[in-house]
């Protein structure tokens, strides 16, 4: 067993990681699943107790345990709450890896879905784009509406079809050249821009906005056209070896040495991208490359604060009315990367905006990667709570920095017939740089 897999199995994990939990219960109020069920096995300390029982061979890895680990959102709110500093993420990923190795949850449908999504589609940017093109045609022809109107289709399948997000008219490489220089400002930094997988298909505009914001703030933008998925999805779902393959692709795609920073605008990816070195055994070629990489990966908000970004200017003359906005903390930004203040500082710098704090802004919205597809019931409970809190702020715009959250919250707001826009903070900032003097709330135009 090499050192990589040692870190990714409960049985060979350094026992001090698991023993660190003193079951004090400080994690309980932060855990969305425990708060819903009030059952200890659905809590972080309960799950860790089960992991420990397996690691100490007091219990077998059972299907019930496996289901429990897929009932966990992996939101990492417990890591923020834990005063002891238990590394739940490592324990969680090791458990899921063991579960997938054991094949205990395998059934034909699950196998098919996983094989298609995780081991086929998200493995290559070419396949993803081909799939995206097909989806785009399907959606343009109105076939999605047609399928939804078929009376004989099971409700569950219709719901799944409804989950498919609209594919953007262009992919990122069609919007962002491989190299772009600032126009009106001197070039102060040279940064790489990660375009992601889901963002590339659905949110290529956010990628373009990110490039615009970087250029405006004096960054030369390097954006390789072939990037693909970073492997975060795979690491969170017990496919560590695939995660390793995808990481190598990215490490090779960027001229790491030349860059001051490598920028991501997706919270879920960032949380994984910053820890590529964990994937490779110490001393190896890839480990060294990954260590250099890890030091340079920044979330876009983090980077903008670090370099001292320029806030958008207000107009000198007219009296514009203000737009109320709020912000939802994506779990893998606030818990996974401890980035809470930076996006707020950016949003509060915008003119004509009134920023209202969202209650329980750092509680998971239920999206959690593919969780909302696998555990729709719990996911929708959390989503409804989130929508209620958003409603309370009376905001017209809710900002959040993760594609999954953007899609899921948008869905929730629509379901409740609320006319509230979901926007990535960086898109709002990009808009702020191009404001037009219209005489009314400029951000709602």
């Amino acid at each position: 067993m090499n050192k990589l897999s040692a870190k990714h199995s409960l049985l060979s994990l350094d026992s001090t990681i698991i023993q660190k939990c003193i079951h004090c219960g400080m994690c309980l109020p932060s855990c969305p699943t425990y708060q819903e069920t009030k059952i200890e096995r659905n809590s972080p300390r309960g799950r860790i107790a089960l992991m420990r029982a397996i690691a100490e061979k007091r219990m077998d890895l059972t299907a019930s345990f496996a289901h429990e680990l897929y009932f966990c959102l992996g939101c990492l709110a417990c890591q923020t709450a834990c005063p002891v500093g238990v590394d739940y993420k490592t324990l969680f990923e090791a458990s899921r890896q063991d579960i997938e190795k054991s094949k205990i949850l395998n059934n034909p449908l699950r196998l098919l879905a996983r094989t298609f999504l995780i081991n086929y589609l998200f493995l290559s940017s070419r396949r993803l784009r081909t799939f995206g093109r097909l989806l785009r045609i399907y959606q343009r022809m109105g076939l999605d509406r047609f399928f939804k109107s078929l009376p004989f289709l099971p409700a569950k399948l219709k719901d799944m079809l409804a989950q498919i997000p609209s594919i953007a008219p262009h992919f990122s490489f069609e919007l962002i050249p491989p190299r772009e220089l600032p126009i009106n400002t001197p070039t102060r930094w040279k940064v790489g821009l990660l375009t992601g997988c889901i963002q590339d298909l659905v949110f290529s505009k956010i990628n373009r906005d990110t490039a615009d914001v970087l250029l405006y703030n004096g960054c030369e933008v390097i954006c390789p056209p072939e990037q693909g998925c970073c492997g975060s999805l795979h690491a969170h779902n017990g496919e560590m070896e695939t995660a390793e393959r995808l990481a190598k692709k990215l490490l090779a795609a960027f001229p790491i040495e030349e860059l001051d920073a490598i920028i991501t605008n997706s919270a879920g990816c960032g949380s994984h991208l910053k820890h590529f070195s964990d994937l490779f055994p110490p001393g190896t070629f890839w480990r060294k490359k990954a260590e250099a990489w890890d030091k340079k990966v920044y979330d876009i908000h983090e980077w903008l604060i670090k370099i001292g970004f320029s806030p958008p200017q207000a107009f000198a003359s007219t009296n514009q009315s203000h737009t109320v906005i709020t912000y939802h903390d994506a779990c893998h930004l606030c818990h996974g990367q401890k980035i809470k203040n930076e996006p707020r500082t950016i949003l509060q710098s915008l003119p004509y905006v009134q920023f209202i704090e969202l209650e329980e802004s750092d509680h998971c919205c239920g999206s959690a990667g593919i969780y909302n597809i696998l555990q729709p019931e719990m996911a929708h409970k959390l989503l409804n709570k989130k929508v209620e809190k958003i409603k309370k702020t009376k905001a017209s715009i809710v900002c959040t920095a993760n594609p999954g959250c953007l899609l899921f919250i948008e869905k929730g707001l629509k379901k409740h017939h609320l006319n509230i826009q979901t926007i990535h903070p960086i898109s709002l900032l990009a808009k702020g740089y191009k404001l037009k003097d219209t005489g009314s709330s400029p951000f709602l135009q």
């Binding site: 003193i22 219960g25 400080m26 096995r41």
Partner: protein
């Protein structure tokens, strides 16, 4: 998971009676109920029941009696004495879903709640009416009122505001014999016979199952100020505390943290504690703004006589909150230092604080056991934290010997082995040192009268 020693047909009748959604019996469900927040005690229950009515509780009591099983009423399982760890043939009665506010009565300043509500939710409800529920245990965000009543929980505001006992006006209790009784009422005064409710406060679930609690609220203090004072020695900080009490100054909190504790807290979330000092005092004054101003000045004057390195006053409510939140995670944060941490809560008369602190340092050296100390200094309640390692038998042996010596010394000073955590499993060995035999017998007699079949949480407080 059927226990080997427990008859299967008995368990069957339990399973048949309750719906699947309210009774947990699988191994994966029971392991997470085999502990509370205390190190070293583990035992899985036979089953976990979420009762949906008083009838469910009565049924399971009868069932336990017929089948020689026992019942452990449980809140969030954050007990620090092992009181919420199941023993042989235990059914855990989880009250966490009984978490409603039944009545807020601002005319009488009372709040009627179910036992599974969290301490924080009670504090928040009180605040909605500009009222105040002072008991404030470190686990307040998740600890339940039922658990607080069971342990007579304290917290940081004990010296001015007292503990849970001082805020319980009444309760509904299911007795082991199946009777449901109401003890207490909304009256401020009540001399009608024995104060029976008081018997159940601090009883650790050994006498009855509390199903409703009537709480007393007080007006919210208008103003708060927080002082942070650092000292070059532990003794100087202890003596300063005794001097504050002697000057008849009663701040709303007077907390002590040693250097090890500060270091761990700062590692979790930097709150601005001075890392280089040997000890700090965190003092809060609350009440009428003028009285607070006056008290802060007088406390500062006393502090200055004991050679502080620095005296700071928190500038705004945000800074105050930061210091208190940081203080409340002290215990868990100390777990960064060692694989196994044992937290005790010996309490001594406040004139003896410096002596007790000094003795703890001595014992730590004698046994070569690392002991961190933080304390609710103002009420004499110390938290020595023993840094051990469950896997190192030699070290644990030394830890327990050091612990015993600390307990005995506290008793010698006229103190108690537990100020706020309760006896549970962790301290029952030492109770006999604190009580004379006839006093100890009195405790046991009360249990015998109320629970002759030993159905409720047996083996806790005493055997």
């Amino acid at each position: 998971m059927a226990s080997l020693s427990f008859p299967n047909e008995a368990l069957r009748s339990l399973i048949d009676h309750f719906p699947e959604s309210s009774l947990l019996i699988s191994k994966e469900d029971l392991i997470p109920y085999s502990f509370d927040a205390t190190a070293t005690f583990y035992h899985a229950p036979l089953a976990v029941l979420f009762p949906s009515s008083i009838e469910d509780i009565l049924w399971v009591l009868q069932w336990a009696k017929s089948n020689h099983a026992c019942i452990l009423p449980r809140g969030s399982g954050t007990s620090l004495s092992g009181a919420a760890v199941p023993q042989k043939n235990s059914i855990v009665l989880s009250m966490t879903k009984w978490n409603k506010i039944l009545e807020t009565d601002p005319d009488n300043l009372t709040l009627l709640v179910e036992p599974g509500i969290t301490t924080q939710a009670v504090q928040e409800e009180a605040a909605k009416f500009s009222l105040f529920y002072p008991p404030d245990p470190g686990s307040y965000k998740i600890s339940t009122i039922g658990g607080n009543v069971g342990h007579n929980s304290g917290g940081i505001r004990g010296l001015k505001y007292g503990v849970t006992r001082n805020y319980v006006l009444g309760m509904e209790v299911v007795l082991p014999n199946g009777q449901v009784v109401w003890l207490g009422n909304k009256c401020v005064k009540d001399s009608a016979g024995y104060s029976l409710k008081d018997l159940f406060i601090g009883s650790e679930g050994t006498l009855g199952i509390v199903t409703k609690v009537l709480l007393r609220l007080i007006p919210k203090p208008q103003e708060r100020q927080v002082i942070l004072a650092s000292f070059p020695t532990l003794e100087a900080a202890s003596e300063a505390t005794s001097a504050i009490i002697k000057a008849a100054l009663i701040p709303s909190a007077l907390e002590f943290l040693d250097q090890k504790t500060i270091e761990c807290i700062e590692a979790y979330s930097p709150a601005g504690f001075p890392k280089e000092s040997q000890a700090v005092l965190l003092i809060e004054s609350d009440g009428h703004p003028q009285a607070v101003q006056d008290e802060i000045i007088r406390i500062s004057q006393v502090l200055k006589q004991y050679g502080p390195l620095e005296i700071k006053i928190a500038e705004n409510p945000k800074q105050q909150e930061q210091l208190w939140s940081a203080r409340k995670v002290a215990f868990s944060a100390l777990a960064r230092k060692a694989p196994t941490v044992l937290l005790e809560d010996v309490t001594v008369p406040r004139s003896s604080l410096a002596q007790m602190i000094h003795k703890i340092q001595q014992i730590s050296k004698t046994y070569a056991v690392e002991i961190a100390v933080y304390a609710h200094m103002g009420d004499g309640n110390l938290h020595p934290v023993f840094l051990g390692d469950e896997k190192n038998k030699d070290l644990m042996e030394k830890v327990f010997r050091a612990m015993k010596e600390i307990f005995l010394y506290a008793i010698k000073l006229g103190g108690t082995v537990t100020g706020e955590h309760g006896v549970g499993l962790a301290k029952k060995e030492f109770l006999a040192y604190q009580y004379k035999s006839e006093e100890f017998q009195l405790l046991k007699n009360i249990k015998k009268i109320l629970d002759p079949d030993n159905l409720l949480n047996p083996g806790k407080i005493f055997d």
